[in-house]
Every structure is written in structure tokens, then in C-alpha cells.
């Protein structure tokens, strides 16, 4: 049945030549696992588009509702945490794959003539992807989103002459608020996707016009010529499948973070950007005062200037890495620099004590239920019930949760009332109790 339908369609639309054009592209040197990075990046982009569209079903891009709607997705919608997790981890995976893709193209000298334009379009794709990361970061409207975006926009403000105007344009006015959120949302979900799709189409169009680069060894490249289908498609599919499984496992087990609701009056919050901006965040620390502009403007400009110029910098048409010592050394130094900065930043940020937002919520519930009317914590509250100052050392999660639901079942004769809370609230209150430990003081 299926066969007859596909045969019918194929005949009407005269598909064989189209399929031949799509699938039988010659790969010099044959299929290889080293060529999977571009395909996996494309797969990840499609996955981001899909999960993003579904996130938009429940998301509200206004400061009044953004945080609550994300929390709603995260906690109340079936599979909500999973879909958001896929989108969150998919973004990180995309950065990794793009990094590996660029590295491979650089190592193989695949950007050299006639593929210079592909490299440059790729550069635009890199900028667009980073813009996706920057604009998407604000959308949950939590503390981290708000303050990291505040910093990001202020960096743009250091651009000479037009910095002030640029920050106003980014924010949609004088301060970060409703207009900022709605324009970041529009850029993230409407403007950037179309630009990226057009750029990907151009990237692939150029690939098909100039052909795949193949191995750097000319003899190897000429020895075998294998069509794109089936072996390369198979390798790409396996890589996509493995990437998908990794993301599913991550999304199911490590939920995307959601800090407290954005609070513009709270200046104690210390924003740390997403890991793919972390090396740059660290680098910024070494430039102070007058020199800040070097790191915020001059060096990024220089970096992208060099990036786009790379295909035109080498004088010789030489793809073998050992015969391109300058490129390899400079590329290697750049990697060492990035990873050193990243390492330093991770080391520093790891020492910041991250407050668990659930603990703060638990504390608020403790106050709301007027628990201090009976219990004492660190000298505050009445001494009717047990002192809870070091409750975390005495009890575990199961005991606490059972106790909140039915105190008399665990402490017969107790006149503690049962606490009527939702599961999420109960979890927060328990987390707060568990945080009350001697060593934490």
C-alpha cells in the first residue's frame, strides 16, 4: 500500500532526478565520521525550532506573566520540564557542535578556495547563534536572566559614540522592562529563525555548488569518490540519534534552571552567564576603567574581523595541517586562551555559594504559615515547639514530608497542625528545613 502510494507520487512529481540530485552528491575520499558536525548542528537547530514553537504555546512575553508562565511549564504542564530541558540543553549542545564544526573546517583547511564564502556565511551563522543565546536568556524573566542581560546590554553601551543609543535600542527605552522583554522575544522567535534559515540555505547552496572539501591529502581525495547516500547519511543519522539520546537523558534528569523571579531592586544577585559566554566574561575582568573598551569592543571587533578574513590570510593554497604551522599555532593558542579563561571562570564561579531558590520559597512559606509562633530558629521565634535551628542535621526528607502531612503519625500527642500545602510547596518547605545545619553557619 505504502509502496503503491509512494510510487504514484514519485511518478506524478518525477522524483527520481530530484532524489538523485539530493542524495548522490559525490564526497571526495568517501564518507567519514569527521563530517557529522554540520549535520548534527542542523539537526539541533531543527530540534530547537520544534521545542521552541511548543514552548511558545504556554509562554507569555510580559514581565507580569513571563516568570509564572515558565514556572507553569516547568512544574504543572505534563512533560513541560522535559520540553524546556530539551530546548535548554539543545542550545548548549548546538554551541559544542558548532565549535567542533568550525575546528574541523579550520584543521582541514576546508575554508580555502573555492569555499571562502561558505566560511563567511558560517561566521554569520555563528553570530546569529550567539544572538539566539543572548536573546533567549532573558525570556524566563528570573533573577539570572534579568541581571545577566543587564550586564550584556551594558557591555554594548561601551561602544564609542553610539553605545548609548545602542543600549536604548536594545532595551526599547531607558530601562530593562516590558519593552525589552517583548523585543527580545520577537527577535528570538521571529527575526532570528528566518535569518538563520536563510543563512543555512545559503551555506548549503554554496556547499552544493562548490562541492564537499574531502580529506586534505589530494591522493586520498581522488582515490575514492562516494555518493552522499547511503553511507554518509547513515553516519549523520547515527550521530543525530546519539545526540538525541544524550539530550533526552539530560532533559529528563537535569532540569533547566529557574531562579527566583526577576527583582530589579535586588542588587545582591551576582549574575554568571551561560558557559559559552563564560570565557569572555572572565576575560573582561582583566580590563578596567579606560581599558574596558578594549575587551568589550576592540577585541571582539578584531576577533570577528580576523574570523571573516581567515580564508584570505594564508598565501598558499595548502590544506595539510603540518604545512600550515602559523595557522595551527595561532589556532592552538586561541584554544588555549579560551580554555584557560573558561577554567579560571569556572574555578571562580564554583566558589560562589549559590542560593537554592527552593530554600527561599520554603522560608517564605515558613513565614506565611507563622511557624515562628511555636518554633525557634537561631533565637528567633517562640519556644513552644522544638527548636529548628539545626533541623537539617536531625531529620531527613522522608521524615519531614511525612511529618508535615500528619505530625501525629510520627510524634504522637503533638499538637502541631498538619500543613496543607501543594507538593511543590511541601518540597520547598522541606528543603528549607534541610538547609538548617550547623556547618552551614
Amino acid at each position: 500500500m505504502m509502496k503503491r502510494i509512494s510510487a504514484w507520487i514519485s511518478k506524478r512529481l518525477n522524483l527520481p532526478p530530484v532524489l538523485h540530485h539530493l542524495l548522490d552528491e559525490k564526497i571526495p575520499g568517501g564518507a567519514s565520521w569527521i563530517y557529522i558536525f554540520g549535520s548534527v548542528t542542523l539537526f539541533l537547530f531543527l530540534l530547537q525550532a520544534l521545542t521552541g514553537m511548543f514552548l511558545a504555546i504556554y509562554y507569555a512575553p510580559t514581565p507580569d506573566h513571563a516568570y509564572e508562565s515558565v514556572r507553569f511549564i516547568q512544574e504543572e504542564i505534563p512533560f513541560g520540564s522535559f520540553i524546556r530541558g530539551l530546548h535548554h540543553w539543545g542550545a548548549s549542545a548546538m554551541m559544542v557542535m558548532i565549535g567542533l564544526h568550525i575546528l574541523q573546517v579550520f584543521l582541514y583547511g576546508a575554508f580555502k578556495a573555492p569555499r571562502e564564502m561558505m566560511w563567511m556565511v558560517g561566521g554569520f551563522l555563528l553570530i546569529l547563534t550567539l544572538s539566539f543565546g543572548f536573546t533567549g536568556y532573558l525570556l524566563p524573566w528570573d533573577q539570572k536572566a534579568y541581571w545577566a542581560t543587564q550586564v550584556g546590554i551594558n557591555l554594548v553601551g561601551t561602544v564609542p559614540w553610539i553605545g548609548g543609543a545602542l543600549t536604548r535600542i536594545l532595551r526599547g527605552g531607558g530601562d530593562l522592562g516590558a519593552l525589552t522583554l517583548s523585543r527580545f522575544f520577537a527577535v528570538h522567535t521571529l527575526f532570528l529563525p528566518w535569518l538563520v534559515v536563510m543563512m543555512i540555505a545559503l551555506h548549503l547552496f554554496i556547499l552544493r555548488r562548490v562541492g564537499a572539501a574531502g580529506p586534505w591529502d589530494k591522493k586520498k581525495a581522488e582515490a575514492v569518490s562516494e555518493p552522499f547516500y547511503p553511507r554518509q547519511v547513515f553516519m549523520d543519522a547515527v550521530a543525530m540519534g546519539v545526540m538525541f539520546i544524550v539530550l533526552v537523558v539530560l532533559a529528563a534528569n537535569v532540569p533547566a534552571h529557574l531562579a527566583d523571579r526577576a527583582d530589579p531592586t535586588d542588587t545582591t544577585f551576582r549574575p554568571v552567564p551561560e558557559w559559552y559566554y563564560l570565557f569572555y566574561y572572565q576575560f573582561l575582568k582583566y580590563f578596567e576603567g579606560r581599558f574596558e573598551i578594549v575587551a568589550t569592543f576592540v577585541i571582539p571587533l578584531l576577533f570577528f574581523g580576523i574570523f571573516f578574513a581567515i580564508p584570505f590570510l594564508g598565501r598558499r593554497w595548502e590544506r595539510i595541517p603540518v604545512k600550515r604551522p602559523m595557522a595551527m599555532i595561532l589556532g592552538g593558542l586561541f584554544l588555549v586562551f579560551v580554555f584557560t579563561m573558561l577554567g579560571l571562570a569556572v574555578k571562580e564561579t564554583a566558589s560562589i555559594v549559590v542560593a537554592d531558590p527552593a530554600i527561599a520559597r520554603g522560608k517564605a512559606i515558613y513565614a506565611k504559615l507563622a511557624c515562628a509562633g511555636c518554633h525557634r530558629i537561631q533565637g528567633e521565634g517562640a519556644q513552644v515547639g522544638p527548636d529548628l535551628s539545626y533541623e537539617g542535621d536531625k531529620r531527613d526528607k522522608t521524615w519531614l514530608e511525612a511529618h508535615f502531612k500528619d505530625p501525629q503519625s510520627l510524634s504522637p500527642g503533638s499538637f502541631m497542625p498538619s500543613v496543607r500545602l501543594s507538593e511543590a510547596e511541601l518540597e520547598s518547605l522541606t528543603r528549607y528545613m534541610l538547609s538548617l545545619k550547623k556547618e552551614a553557619r
Binding site: F54, Y229, F234
Partner: protein, 168 residues
Amino acid sequence: MPEEVTRRSFFGKAIAAIAGSIALILSVPILGYTILPALRKREEPWSEVGPVTQLEMNQPKELEVVRSVSSGWMKAASVRSIWAFRKPEGEVVVYSPICTHLGCGYHWDDQKKKFLCPCHNSSFDLNGQVLGGPAPRPLDALPAKVEGDRLYVVYKEFKSGISRKEEI
């Protein structure tokens, strides 16, 4: 007759299997994410109306119910009216304020001792039974209870114009 498995057809099938599995694995959470919340029935809470002492014997009174309505992640207060009175046995009767004919609001006529609907002249007695007019069924009673001296009701709406009492 089974087809011969060639190298080419193996790759084709493997690619289809991987793509198919990804689509299948994704479709379960995505469908659940999109469809399940839409099918979820709203749970209407008991709303406090006020002291039960304000109700008189066999004398329906229009009362206001302020209920907390949730729409997605948002919660808002919504005011609705109800008709309520006490029976001699002490039982409290609460009616939905909507005429069962076409959804107009009716009122209690104290002279005629009837509930009258002005739109199409339906009339009901104290027990909600239809006395006249096009109303297809008795007035819709709402769940009510008294705790202490407070009256609680569950506000519900029902489809108009049909003889069965069917919740919206």
C-alpha cells in the same frame, strides 16, 4: 518472498529507523505537553458566600459569590450571583442564577412567590420546578454546605435549552 538485504537497503532501513525513533520518542512528550492540559477538567473549589444567618426561611435572596478562577498560570477573582434560601428543616437551597431556557438572569417575585424570567416568561416555584413558559428543566441547584455559620457553594454553569442538566 522476502527481499534480499543489500548493503544499500540496510543503510536505508537503518536511517529510516533512527529518524523514525527520534520522531516517535519526541511525539509522546510533545502530544502530552500540548493536549493533556487542554483536556484537564477544572476543579471548582468551594467558595465562601458569607454568614448563613442572612438567609431567611423560604425567602430567596440574591447573594454574591467571589470565586478564585485560574486561567493557566493566572489567578483572578470573579464575581457571580446566586439565589439562596433556607428550608423550614434548616437545609439551604442554592440555585444557579441562569434560566434553564436560554441563559437569561431571572429574579424572585415576592408578591407572586415565583421565580420569573423576563426574557421568555418562564416561571419556577420555590423548589425550582417549572410553572410555565418554555423552560425545559427545573432551575439548576448548586452544591451547598454550611460549616459553622458560613455558607459555601460550588459555582457551576450548565448548558441552557436542554432537558438534561449538563455541566459546561
